[in-house]
């Protein structure tokens, strides 16, 4: 319904730093580790630095909860609302409600289709998927696998980002399947990104293929770890490349151990800082310009956007993540990993 451009910036005007208050709703803590460990931290730092009031909450994957939190934030007087939607429907409902109450809005990490947010700040999720696909191809090539059978373990089918990731890596893998270079193996979604279920699902893939799986496209590090634990049980770890995402400590350790082939590092600090910058501006009644836009096909409008590029991490580049401060050496290089860290040049 609401499709007009939101460039006017009429909302939030007339407020000063004292009453500026920013609400942030994070989606969950199951689909990825980042929300609670990274985003919350960086956003808090940025807001504190700017001296604005803020309220960051997590909807725990519950849409009703998501809307409730939004209602509560609007009630408690935020003038900028930044959301990571759980789906476009509730996202749109929240954005529209906020707009009708004169609250400025930002789509963080996920675009709300048909929504009314002033800005969109994100990594390119399709690009993330592409990196995963390319990473897997790279590993399979170095391992010199002929006509490898590739299994795909997608994220939650109910998460739109999972669909975007899949779109990305399928764009790399599909041509290989059609050309006959690769053999398409089992391809399943993991409900709720649940790692335990992922283990069973992969174990059954392996059983069904009688062990003939040569590469696994796992959508994030948690799923990757579930795959690796099954491979370990069959002493196949290290022999079958597995992908990941999020550059978690666990994923990086698996990479160092040689069990995981790559992960995707999204410099969340950059994303958080960019979003915080825009939010603080809106809260203070300033209107900042962005260079990029993203087309919202549902709302038929170009959303002013800040898009950041993800980065593939392999054994060689693990040190970059530490250097970035995304994970600390102390948490990464525990126990046996100390030596591996040194080998990989982590300092």
């Amino acid at each position: 319904a609401c499709g007009d451009d939101s460039g006017s910036g009429d909302s939030g005007s007339g407020t000063d730093t004292k009453t500026a208050k920013i609400g942030v709703i994070l989606p969950d803590s199951a689909s990825s580790a980042r929300w609670e460990t990274a985003d919350r931290k960086y956003l808090e730092e940025a807001f504190k630095a700017a001296g604005v009031q803020y309220d960051i909450q997590n909807a725990q994957g519950d849409k009703t909860q998501f809307q409730t939190i939004a209602d509560q934030m609007i009630t408690s007087g935020v003038n900028v609302l930044m959301i990571v939607n759980l789906d476009s429907g509730t996202g749109k409902a929240v954005l529209d409600k906020a707009k009708s109450q004169g609250v400025a809005t930002i789509d963080y990490d996920r675009l709300t289709l048909g929504g009314s947010a002033q800005y969109y700040v994100s990594f390119d999720n399709v690009a993330v998927g592409k990196l995963q696909g390319e990473g897997l191809v790279q590993c399979l090539t170095t391992m010199n696998k002929q006509k490898p059978v590739v299994a795909e373990l997608n994220g939650s089918q109910t998460d739109n980002n999972a669909t975007l990731f899949k779109e990305g890596y399928d764009s790399v893998l599909k041509p290989k399947y059609t050309s006959g270079d690769y053999v398409q193996g089992p391809d399943q979604w993991v409900p709720d990104w649940d790692n335990a279920q992922a283990g069973t699902i992969f174990e059954q893939m392996l059983t069904e293929k009688s062990g003939k799986i040569d590469g696994v496209l796992a959508a994030n590090d948690g799923l990757g770890n579930a795959v690796i634990s099954v491979l370990k049980k069959n002493n196949l770890n290290g022999k079958v490349p597995v992908t990941g995402q999020d550059a978690t400590v666990q994923g990086l350790q698996n990479i160092l151990a040689g069990d995981q082939c790559m992960t995707v590092y999204k410099a969340i600090k950059q994303e958080a800082d960019a979003a915080a910058d825009l939010a603080i501006g809106l809260a203070k009644g300033e209107k900042k310009d962005t260079t990029q836009t993203v087309k919202d096909p549902d709302g038929n409008r170009d959303v002013p956007s800040v898009l950041l590029t993800p980065k593939a991490i392999t054994k060689e580049t693990v040190k970059d993540v530490v250097a970035d401060g995304f994970v600390t050496k102390a948490e990464l290089c525990t126990g046996n990993f100390a030596t591996l860290c040194t080998q990989a040049g982590v300092s």
Binding site: L26, E36, T68, D71, S76, D87, G89, G114
Partner: protein, 418 residues
């Protein structure tokens, strides 16, 4: 057998009760543990005071309106669940059944372009059919309801996914459907409905009093009857007054006042189902089957039919709940009716005082328990805790609210009545 000296006296002669005796009676009943809705109401008050102290904004008109729309879907589903629980059965699938119905609604409108009334009809019919199937499997095939509805829980979860074709979500654009959970009725209409409600209640109370008096049965004193009516009028009046306040943050942009549309919907459902449970033979039979299935069977009640019917009611209400949820979310996706919806709905019923073992419960319980859960959710949303803290806190607060209830009922048990 010696049967001397027995004289048939009239069972006893009761003096006409007075206001004083009535109040004394009530106090002694409460003292003796017959608490009715008191503990749930008490728990609710404690919660509200707590949140109001922690976050004064909790007590704003805007937040009051939020409460209703936030708790509506769970409360409606809980109302349906009451019927299943009254028989000592359970329906784990009610949450996702609401999802299936919502998905049908959304798809019919989005893909077939069906008008809203057809879509609503289709959703409710779907709910009824689901209930028929579940009820048949429980009553006629004899599979325990926990297993049947666990299977339903899984199957409907899948059905939603299939209906909305994977991870996308289907937007709802129809204004009528969207209005349900997002719009308010104009202030004057709120007052009109309130007055109709109070007048209706007064008519029922006074008429049934007159009918009893005509038969020479004991009646409550007129003053007490009038008191009840007045109490209802005051509560409704205050609520409507508050909801009719302006609650827009920016009046220039938009004016926001009036009773949310879901409120009269819930009120209507409450009245209808309470009437059916309390005043019809069917409702009586539900209690009988829940209290003692064998006794009900021996009394000639068609137990199977009752068992099937409650599942139909439950799934039908789930369909309505699903429509409200879809309206509130402006969309339907694979999670509609999922996550905590079911547990919250059953929890609402149980907190309200409905027993999981059957035979004991009222539709009003769903409302009271739903209010407790909505208040906790709402208040917690204002506190700004991290998600871990929030879960822990919600659990603890829920426990405290239930503890008020339990401790007051314990006093009852101690006096021997339960």
């Amino acid at each position: 057998m010696t049967t001397t000296a027995h004289h048939i006296e009239p069972v006893a002669v009761a003096p006409k009760p007075t206001v004083g005796s009535h109040i004394r009676d009530y106090l002694s009943r409460v003292g003796g543990g017959d608490l009715g809705a008191l503990p749930a109401v008490l728990g609710l008050i404690v919660l509200c005071v707590f949140f109001a102290i922690m976050k004064p904004v909790f007590f704003s008109a805007g937040n009051f309106a939020n409460l209703f729309t936030q708790g509506a879907a769970v409360t409606i589903i809980a109302m349906g669940l009451i019927f299943v629980l009254l028989l000592g059965e359970i329906d784990l699938s009610a949450g996702f059944a609401s999802g299936v119905c919502a998905a049908i609604l959304a798809q019919l409108m989005a893909e077939q372009g069906a008008p809203w009334y057809l879509a609503v009809l289709a959703a409710i019919v779907t709910g009824v059919v689901i209930g028929l199937v579940l009820g048949f499997l429980v009553a006629k095939v004899g599979i325990p309801s926990f297993v049947v509805t666990l299977a339903g829980f899984l199957a409907f979860q899948g059905t939603v996914l299939l209906l909305i074709k994977g991870g996308t979500n289907v937007s709802i654009r129809d204004d009528v459907i969207l209005a349900i959970a997002n719009k308010n009725i104009v202030p004057w209409l709120g007052w009109v409905l309130t007055i109709i409600g109070i007048a209706g209640y007064a008519a029922v109370v006074l008429l049934s009093r007159r009918r009893r008096a005509a038969r020479g049965l004991v009646t409550e004193p007129l003053a007490v009857a009038v008191g009840r009516i007045a109490a209802l009028a005051v509560i409704l009046g205050i609520a409507v007054f508050v909801l009719n306040q302006e609650r827009s943050r920016n009046v220039v942009v938009v004016s926001l006042k009036g009773v949310p549309i879901v409120v009269p919907i819930i009120a209507a459902l409450l009245i209808i189902w309470t009437f059916i449970l309390r005043r019809t033979a069917y409702g009586r039979h539900i209690y009988a089957v829940g209290g003692n299935r064998e006794a009900a069977r021996r009394a000639g009640i068609s137990v199977d039919r009752i068992r099937i019917s409650v599942f139909v009611i439950c799934s039908g209400m789930a369909a309505i709940g699903g429509i409200v949820a879809a309206s509130r979310a402006n969309s339907v996706d694979a999670n509609t009716g999922g996550s905590n919806v079911l547990l919250y709905a059953v929890g609402a019923a149980v907190i309200g005082g409905t027993s999981l073992f059957g035979g004991k419960g009222r539709v009003l319980d769903a409302l009271l328990g739903g209010a407790v859960i909505a208040v906790i959710d709402n208040g917690m949303g204002l506190m700004g805790l991290s998600s871990g803290q929030k879960f822990v806190f919600t659990g603890v607060v829920l426990l405290l609210a239930a503890g008020v209830d339990a401790l007051s009922r314990r006093r009852a048990a101690a006096t021997g009545t339960r």
